[in-house]
Subunit: 408 residues, 2 copies
């Protein structure tokens, strides 16, 4: 633990918005990101939405001299989009896929197909064990009527639990990613309260960049200005969070965001702004106990999150019920048609009540509806189970919290 002078760590975080065939100027931007990472020589670059492994390979090839270690987390149909470039050896990796992540039939949103997850990397820098987490939570498509809020709350809870359970061997915990939550949202309060992670924006000594640390700003040319109308300055949804454990203390010396364009260029890196933090890690004079003080507000936060999960549970149960009913109706229609078809074949009921084409199309439709609603029924059953499980886990957590608080 001979780390005097303190370790300075430069971390880059960016949601790259690199969807093949869909994202504008993807190749130019990936090139630009690679060039910047190479020139700036960060210690760690945490990237999200690198959906194509070809883009990852292009970056890897370009960055191999500067960042000899890298990892791409594979998951879902498309890939998790998460990757990390590091100047220091990656000792181990582990992926946790969120149990809930939108709906496969919401093709226009597509989150389900990405298999959203949190990736853990164990990295040793100057003898200090870093547990680096990179993640991307479910997008928020409509803030007023956010159908995915329960899923995002479950993801935030699983992320918090995953970090708590897997970081016991770490000296420093670092989380970077697009959390798709505003700083005051229940999910982020839950995550921070449960894990004790500190937010680099309010904590930094020096800040430079978009006002309020926003990472989705109206001045970015790829942003749909209308969607950001309620937030004239933009919103902050990309974070670098950190904490030091036992023997180490971490503070954020400086935080920088890009401001609508890449420095010195006419286009931005992405539709999100990059977040760059300089962290200072130094040994604590006195080792911190493993059981840090619990904030009494955490009980309210867990309660609030639990309420969101319950709301999601009711919706999921309703959706499961309507899909079950739809499947039964389609099955009944098919059986009726089969009976009619058979009876007309054996000549019991020769004058068919429908024209043959409509009859065929109707049976086709009934089959499609039956199959799809069965699949969706199964899907919502899984959703119900997971929401029930999370609700139960939160109940247990609340109980444990209250026990701890009352014994304090």
């Amino acid at each position: 633990m001979d780390t005097d002078p303190p370790l300075q760590l430069r971390v880059f975080n960016l949601n790259c918005w690199a969807i093949r065939y869909l994202s504008k100027l993807r190749q130019e931007r990936i090139g630009l990101i690679g060039d910047t990472l190479r020139q700036e020589g960060f210690d760690l670059a945490l990237l999200q939405e690198v959906w194509s492994e070809r883009d990852y390979c292009e970056l890897k090839q370009k960055l191999t001299a500067c960042y000899p270690y890298s990892h791409y987390f594979k998951s879902g149909v498309i890939g998790s989009g998460l990757c990390v470039f590091s100047r220091y050896p990656i000792l181990d990796t582990f992926l946790y896929q969120y149990s809930l992540n939108g709906y496969p039939y919401m093709l226009q949103h597509g989150d389900w197909f990405c298999g959203k997850a949190v990736g853990l990397l164990v990295i040793k820098i100057c003898g200090i064990i870093f547990h680096v987490y990179v993640t991307h939570l479910h997008a928020e498509y409509c803030r007023d009527k956010d159908a995915y809020l329960p899923h995002r709350v479950v993801q935030a809870w699983e992320l918090a639990q995953f970090i708590q359970h897997t970081s016991k061997g770490a000296d420093v915990v670092l989380l970077g990613g697009d959390l798709n939550m505003h700083p005051g949202d229940v999910g982020i309060r839950l995550l921070r309260g449960w894990t004790g992670l500190r937010d680099s924006f309010p904590d930094t000594e020096r800040f430079e960049g978009c006002e309020d640390g926003c990472t989705l700003v109206p001045t970015n040319c790829f942003i749909n200005k209308e969607e950001l109308q309620p937030f004239p300055l933009g919103i902050r949804i990309d974070y670098i969070l950190y904490k030091g454990l036992s023997h180490f203390a971490v503070k954020c010396d400086s935080l920088v965001t890009t401001t609508g364009t890449a420095p010195g260029k006419s286009i931005p890196y992405s539709d999100h702004e990059a977040v760059m933090a300089t962290l200072c890690v130094k040994p604590r004079e006195e080792a911190k106990g493993s059981s840090s003080a619990i904030e009494p507000e955490l009980v309210d936060v867990v309660n609030e999150a639990r309420t969101e999960v319950r709301v999601g549970l009711h919706t999921a149960e309703r959706q499961r019920y309507s899909n079950g009913r739809m499947a039964i109706l389609a099955l009944l229609l098919l059986l009726l048609q089969a009976a009619m078809g058979l009876s007309s074949l054996v000549g019991w009921d020769s004058p068919q009540p429908f024209p043959k084409l409509s009859f065929s199309l109707l049976s086709l439709l009934a089959t499609v509806v039956l199959l799809l609603s069965m699949v969706v029924y199964v899907f919502h059953t899984i959703e119900v189970k997971m929401l029930q499980g999370t609700e139960e886990q939160m109940r247990l957590a609340l109980q444990a919290l209250q026990d701890k608080l009352s014994s304090m």
Copy 2:
């Protein structure tokens, strides 16, 4: 850490085979299991295949006095089937669902619908932190041509990784479950080699029960004798594994299995035999270093596992390809039929080449095939991604292992 005299812990593990409407004498057996657990007063009971939450609630009600703490892990469509009854408070729980777990279209096997997972419980007993893991891996339906071997190897790898990453804060690690692997199988060697967990059967000082510690034996009346023909004594697939970390040492004082019937009864608890271990936990005189010695054989085991994953990857790629091809053919057929139907409607081609009923049935079939093969294609794409990810992780692990070995 004043735990003199050593802590004696009695652990019960059983795959309960409690599938509603399918498992024979389910209710009687659940009653019997509850009675035994109450009478025997174990410290911990780890149960698998309690598929119905009603059965869990029945057990919970019966055992509430003896085991005031319990937890049921919800996952998948049916539920994970995993539950734990404990005499000591459960401080925290966490669930990790395996990323691969059979195929949804293999309805006759049904593993996919169970959402197989590993559940972690943090339990404090006499000041000692136990991380208790309960799990159930994918079943083996045909040993000679085991189509699920790659999935089971991935599960064993994820289980090992999950235990390694989440047990850093534990004093004692305990794993109980139906691993569906024989003691010499690559998955169990990988799990034991990677985690350093010890197997209670070869390690116990006193053993009583089925020969070779078998937990699936031909004398059990629920067992299909033919399936066990290559193994006249039976097979051992249910385990209690353990290890002590840093300050604690664990050994197995005695191990007992049931022998085809429940003690003093005419029927067995389940089609599996119960495993009951008495573990002795005592403080180590000298704290063990966190980096235990690596066995050089582990490199071979990881290599062997990686080969299995590669074999699975080839199969998954082939299956994805054939489903993609099938979907394209069905789509082409549908388009052709639509063109024929339209042309006959507008009178270009009045004599229809097929009778109308066959024509309709064919389009119905094509639609069903198109939908199903699209869903299966997406499913195999996820499988390919996960197998590639695991293979890459194993490559990284091998590299790290070899680096460590060469620096020793």
